[in-house]
Symmetry: C3
């Protein structure tokens, strides 16, 4: 198996995991089969579509390579039919989701650097690649995006993307350091889940003052 | 009247119908005149803007040709002032909306094929062109998108876009087969409305297990 | 100080003000530190990202120039830690927000005209640049976008962008007329806030008829 085949398989595994996560949320919202597949598609491919639009890689990979959309659709449909069994796999899904987070962070950051995006922008694009699908999933199901509320999630992606940019500056972009970056994000996310780490929350504003931005 | 004039008129008719649909939803949410026009604009032109960004046709037609935005804005404003009368036209609007669905599916798929997008991607882009405006309308009015919950809607668009791709492979892209594809989507949608067809809904997950994706 | 330095500083001031507005809304929703920074980033840079995608200026300035993202992130983080004091600055924020609205309207319209977008499209893009960040902020915090519901806000931006297009046709694009356009938007918005001007709202539809668009 060549490196590029390995990368493709890993990428499609990430797509499948994120599609399963989106499909599960859609099943819980009582969407129909099409809605479940659509939310699964957005959760799996939304981050990559934003990334490709921003770096002008058009049409985005999700539309240019049929294996991506097909993987997402088949996985989401499988969750639709098998979701009672799937619910028992909750821990497995969380672990796979964390692995997908690491993978998408690293590939997103690398693609942005390849497209000559400067360092800070590449970090942001890497993070958005990893969390964009989850944002889209939550917008479609009318939730405040949980990636903005829960334990360290996007922060793990951001740390990973900064790591990739630093490795790139140092010239270490071989398989070993990049795999280490994937594992770094994966590990941070797993530990955060385990220990229920969260970023700090502000104390609520005093009643009556309102949010400064609300009248906008 | 030449073919391209006929196509433009048909396209603008689709824009007007979708703008009316968006404006009606915004009126029901008590948005002000500007809000009604804005949601009408998004409902009418949102799908086409996404399509044009994805196939790198920039600036998108909605910004490049003033007739599109003007048609959407005037229609939405008319609904704002005339909506009590408009409410009585509900059946007419549903029929016109179904016609717009068919038309946008076919033109969206053709534009994607013209831009060298492969078959699976072109099907998806055709469907997104047709349903994207309705998605934007529902996101702006804080609803779970009804295109993801109701009777066969996006599925009709998907069937039509697959039909266009097949016709394209076979070399049948003259006015007659394409009109047949428009009518196919139109017909499926009308019959689905009439018979209240829906895609299947999953049985709810057992209480307490939660959705597998929720902790993300 | 050269003109371009003045423009950059003014632009970054607009970014800071909009980031503060987004961060305040996120604090009110009890998002964590990362969520507050992310919503601040979207509020400050979302409109410009949409503008750059639509005129094919990629990667968007928000990713291409580190000063934009850094300004947004630092401002949002400052609001997170200082928000009780910040709440007392409410009037100041509203005034600055109005100034940002004027500035983003003018720069967005000018960039669209530079990219050869026709007049009507350039007006729309200018307005979207100014209000896009606020829309994104409200979608992320699961609100019906207030820019669609409150006092004259987007309308002020639209008037300003039409003004810039007219000035451009007349060949008056020096610093003085453009500053006048910024002040026009700023003034309309301030007066609207002061007098609680709103665009008209339609009378509610008779109960039971439903919105014409709802079955879509």
């Amino acid at each position: 198996m060549t490196t590029s085949t390995a990368l493709l398989l890993a990428d499609l595994a990430g797509v499948a995991v994120f599609a399963a996560s989106g499909a599960s949320a859609a099943v819980a919202k009582r969407l129909d089969l099409f809605g479940v597949v659509f939310v699964g598609f957005v959760a799996a491919l939304g981050g990559g579509i934003i990334r490709d639009l921003v770096i002008d890689e058009v049409p985005p990979l999700a539309f240019a390579d049929w294996r991506y959309a097909t993987t997402a659709a088949l996985t989401a449909a499988a969750v639709f039919w098998l979701h009672p069994q799937f619910a028992r796999l909750r821990t497995t899904v969380l672990v796979l989701d964390s692995a997908g987070l690491g993978l998408f962070t690293v590939t997103g950051t690398l693609k942005a650097l390849d497209a000559q995006v400067p360092a800070v922008g590449a970090c942001l694009i890497g993070m958005i690649t990893a969390i964009g699908g989850g944002l889209g999933r939550d917008l479609l199901t009318a939730e405040i995006p949980v990636v903005l509320r829960r334990e360290i999630y996007a922060v793990a992606a951001l740390i990973g993307s900064i790591g990739v940019v630093v490795l790139n500056v140092l010239g270490h972009t071989g398989p070993v350091p990049l795999t280490a970056a994937v594992l770094l994000v994966f590990g941070i996310r797993l530990v955060a889940l385990r220990r229920r780490w969260s970023a700090p929350v502000a104390t609520p504003p005093p009643p009556g003052t309102g949010a400064a931005g609300s009248p906008r």
